[in-house]
């Protein structure tokens, strides 16, 4: 595939994700408006605190008058998944532009991580992040305006359904990337790859069951990494890079 075609495909994907995320941002703005936040408050929170789940949780916990320390730990646990993402989102070619890299790391989201190519140009990855970031910030501000115009009862009846598109986006992107990884691995047979992926899913499901949705991220990710490492996942490419012929 031509690089231009790949770039266009990536940007179309980013635009589709931004569009799918829009109703969730609007919902956040509406909820914030109901809690007496102004559009400028929401704008600043979305710009500097950019994290959909973190922002929803902050509103919820602030409403429950939780202490700052407990809010910090709950949201930290929720967002701890960004640590491995942030480590894996860069490559050696980006090292020349450290400051830009540090600034751009604030714009990493689940969706951008799932779309952007690991070894693509920094400019392309920055564009993907910017599209999703801008859409999120704009949609939350639109939500504040919508919250002033729409009747509260109408909002209540629809809000329970508006969050599913966010889940759908993440699930689709995650499965697409797993599918791509399975197809790209030539070392194992299809049955072995499916068994290995099922084992990883089972491990992750067990971790979420025993530790809960907020605390499972790091143990889940570390455990799946260990399973894949012990099963020699990706070793053939690593050997190719080091000139080892099997």
């Amino acid at each position: 595939m031509q690089p231009e075609t790949i770039n266009r495909k990536l940007l179309t994907q980013a635009a589709a994700v931004a569009l799918g995320l829009f109703p969730i941002g609007v919902l956040f703005g509406v909820v914030a408006q109901q809690n007496h936040w102004s559009w400028s408050d929401v704008l600043l929170l979305s710009m500097f605190g950019f994290s959909a789940s973190g922002q929803f949780f902050y509103l919820k916990l602030a409403n429950e008058q939780a202490s700052l320390l407990s809010m910090f730990f709950v949201i930290l646990m929720l967002n701890i998944r960004y640590v491995p993402m942030s480590l894996a989102a860069w490559n050696a070619a980006d090292n020349g532009r450290r400051l830009l890299r540090l600034v751009l790391s604030h714009f990493i989201s689940d969706e951008s991580f799932a779309i952007e190519p690991r070894y693509g140009r920094l400019q392309l990855r920055a564009t993907v992040r910017a599209i999703i970031y801008a859409s999120w910030v704009l949609s939350t501000v639109c939500g504040v305006v919508a919250g002033r115009l729409l009747p509260a009862a109408w909002i209540g009846s629809f809000s329970q359904y508006l969050l599913f598109p966010a889940t759908a986006i993440l699930a689709i992107l995650a499965v697409k990337r797993i599918d791509g990884a399975i197809a790209g691995n030539l070392q194992l047979g299809l049955a072995a790859k499916l068994v290995l992926m099922s084992a990883c899913v089972a491990f992750s499901a067990a971790t979420i069951h025993f530790l809960g949705k907020d605390a499972f991220w790091i143990p889940g990710i570390v455990g799946v990494c260990l399973i894949l490492y012990l099963c020699h996942w990706g070793e053939e490419r690593s050997n190719e890079n080091h000139g080892v012929i099997q």
Binding site: A16, L19, G20, F48, F50, S51, Y58, A62, L68, F72, I75, L76, I80, R81, Y82, V83, P84, M85, S86, L87, A88, W90, N91, R101, L102, S105, F113, A114, R118, Y161, F164, P165, T167, A168, I169, L170, A171, L173, A174, V175, R177, I178, A181, C200, V201, S204, A205, I208, K213, F216, W217, I221, V224, C225, L228, Y229, W233, G234, R237, S238
Partner: protein, 95 residues
């Protein structure tokens, strides 16, 4: 309000900017990056499924079947149809 902004910004610095700073100091092998990425996606998928299935088991199962069936299709179409499957089935099951 300002405390919320400061709190979320501080968390972003800890979980996104600081690891990125560490990443500039060490050379992470491509195999490790590939393994970490797949591990994140597997956990992300399980998280998505569990968060919906615990609330609405049947609609979530139906919507995830639509997601798998339309995986190779247009992303926006998949988002729309899977969301429609979830919302309509949840609506009708509640009566």
């Amino acid at each position: 309000m300002m405390e919320g902004i400061a709190l979320l910004l501080a968390i972003s610095l800890i979980v996104r900017v600081f690891p990125s700073l560490v990443g500039t100091r060490i050379d992470i092998p491509p195999r490790a990056i590939e393994i970490i990425s797949i591990a994140v996606f597997i956990n992300m998928f399980v998280y998505c499924f569990f968060s919906e299935a615990l609330k609405e088991a049947v609609p979530a199962a139906l919507a995830f079947l639509v997601i798998i069936a339309l995986l190779r299709q247009n992303l926006l179409l998949n988002i729309l149809l899977s969301s429609a499957a979830f919302i309509l089935s949840a609506h009708y099951l509640r009566g």
